[in-house]
């Protein structure tokens, strides 16, 4: 049994269920706020209850600075985190993979010209910076609704991720294309479609699957990096005096980004969303590792040492 794959899938399935049923499972209402209270018990001793409440019986994960339940917030934001990252990862591999496979297959038979090395200096500008510049003008205190903004972000993140998937798949296809069975099939008169479908795709299937999972992890990373710089999935609400940034969707990376100040005190406000996010990434990583193991067992040669 493949332990990695099982554990990873279990984590992701549970989280997906949480995201789907979030509204029914949450112990508190999204709008329900813990107010400052002064309670006098039987002995006449008074205690003050004030937000944020630490994790306890009433609030399993505690509340945020303003007294809203963190578990409820997490369950509410899960749909954005999970389904968006999954959708973007899938779209990247689907579009990039399709184009890459065709480019690799219909490549001319002469050695390819490598683009000049100096082009790569543009690598110095990180992708999340480009995404940030693209969206910062419209994401803060935006008039667009959160789903629309999320869709816009999804579109941008898909577009910036396609080139790398494309080149990976293209390289793999070029190698496969020179295999004897492809040439044999070609000389027997198979048409392009048959070769792509029955000789190339079956060998690329596993790569596609692993790539999707890895792209999801990359997308989640980008969500997080953007959130560190106050660009949250689904839009940022900014308050002046003192400047504060709030996620409009409770998306997990956003919850981390907006709680970044709670490093020294009331750490659960930062730690709980961070833990959920880490668990999610680990789940996907375990799936990716598990798939890789399966794949290696079938195809890899053992080392001599």
């Amino acid at each position: 049994m493949n332990k990695n794959l099982t554990i990873g899938l279990a984590i992701i399935v549970l989280m997906t269920l949480g995201a789907l049923l979030g509204g029914y499972l949450s112990p508190h209402d999204l709008q329900e706020q813990l107010k400052i209270e002064y309670i006098v018990d039987d002995q006449g001793k008074g205690t003050v209850i004030a937000p944020p409440a630490p994790p306890g019986q009433r609030y399993p994960f505690g509340t945020d600075k303003y007294g809203y339940d963190l578990l409820t917030k997490l369950l509410d934001g899960a749909k954005y985190t999970l389904f968006l990252s999954f959708g973007i990862g899938f779209a990247r591999v689907f579009i990039g993979g399709l184009i890459g496979m065709l480019l690799g297959y219909f490549r001319e038979r002469q050695p390819e010209k490598q683009p000049a090395d100096s082009w790569k200096a543009l690598n110095g500008i990180p992708i999340f910076l480009i995404t940030w510049l693209l969206l910062i003008g419209i994401s803060i205190n935006s008039a667009l609704s959160p789903p629309k903004l999320s869709l816009l972000l999804a579109f941008v993140l898909t577009a910036v991720g396609i080139p790398s998937v494309l080149s990976t798949i293209k390289d793999k296809t070029i190698v496969l294309r020179e295999r004897p069975y492809v040439i044999a099939s070609e000389s027997l008169g198979a048409d392009h479609w048959t070769i792509v479908r029955s000789h190339l795709f079956p060998f690329l299937k596993e790569s596609f699957l692993i790539l999707i999972v890895q792209e999801i992890v990359l997308v989640l990373t980008l969500f997080g990096q953007l959130a560190i710089f106050n660009l949250f999935v689904g839009g940022t609400t900014m308050y002046m005096d003192p400047p504060e940034y709030h996620s409009r969707t409770n998306e997990w990376a956003g919850l981390i980004g907006q709680a970044r100040g709670f490093l020294y005190t009331k750490q659960w406000i930062l730690f709980i969303p961070l833990a959920a996010y880490v668990l999610l990434i680990m789940g996907f990583q375990l799936i990716s590792n598990g798939l890789q193991q399966r794949y290696n067992r079938i195809y890899a040669k053992p080392p001599h040492l």
């Binding site: 000049a116 100096s118 082009w119 790569k120 200096a121 543009l122 690598n123 110095g124 500008i125 990180p126 992708i127 999340f128 910076l129 480009i130 510049l133 693209l134 969206l135 910062i136 003008g137 419209i138 935006s142 008039a143 667009l144 992890v217 989640l220 990373t221 997080g224 990096q225 560190i228 710089f229 981390i256 490093l263 020294y264 750490q267 930062l270 730690f271 961070l274 996010y277 880490v278 990434i281 680990m282 990583q285 375990l286 990716s288 590792n289 890899a300 040669k301 053992p302 080392p303 001599h304 040492l305």
Partner: protein, 295 residues
Amino acid sequence: MLRVVKTAMVVPVSLAFILAVSLLPLLLQMDGDGGPLRLQWSQSFAALSDYFSGLGSGDSFRFVSGKYEYSFWDRIGVSFQVSLFYIFFGSLIGMTLGLLIGVYFALSRVEWLKRIVELFGALPDFVLILLLQFSVVFIASKTGLVVFQVASLSTDDPAIALPLFSAALIPANYMIRNVAVQMRLTLSEDYISFAKARGLGKMRIVFYHALPNVLPFFKADLHKLLGILMGNMFILEYLYNLNGVGMFLFSDAIGFGGYQYALVVNGLMTLIVLYAIVYGLIRLYLWGWEKVISR
């Protein structure tokens, strides 16, 4: 086209790219309150022409931070040094350790350790940094002992150890993973079994037969690693409050007077220069490795 011309074309096209990318926040804006999303061409062209006319007068090299105006040239030197220090020494330490650990992982059978490293390696850079900061705060609150400084409070009292450690973590992790994979592939080659049959020692085979065939892979993939490192640099500087190029760019890109186009353009150009320098230095370092292991 001539090769020289082709290479020379890189400079103007990169410049155009930077000028265009920096325009994005101006170009993509909402039309008034609740209006549709519209491309703001006139405002973007104004910024662009201001930049070019400001080049002569020096206006393009001034920026506003808080209430005061500063000169770009006065400020960028220090930031550049800070960024170069962390990114270069971080990758130097990280790559060296990563290479050695990667070789060890390719040979040994400590599966549990590999699995842990692999899982933690999948975590994004900012999570690792936050977890490191958390653990320092945790240790300090339990024992009263502050192991490292968590972030720089001021420029006179910078946190060095923890940021440098974090800067080494990402390249180390990248190297461990890739060296282990490439090493395993190389060790399954026939010339390795031949070397083994000749009775050569394990260390000799690994360092003189296998490793020279692993290193070219990193030379080819160096741009990928550096791309990751540049992204990491931003996060590092932001979370540790280091006064580097990334912080310089972000903290004043959107000031009280609105978006500072000239500052972002200049900052991005600095990034490219930084990239080129670090790339050269790391290539030199890899060249040194090759000299040592392939006498």
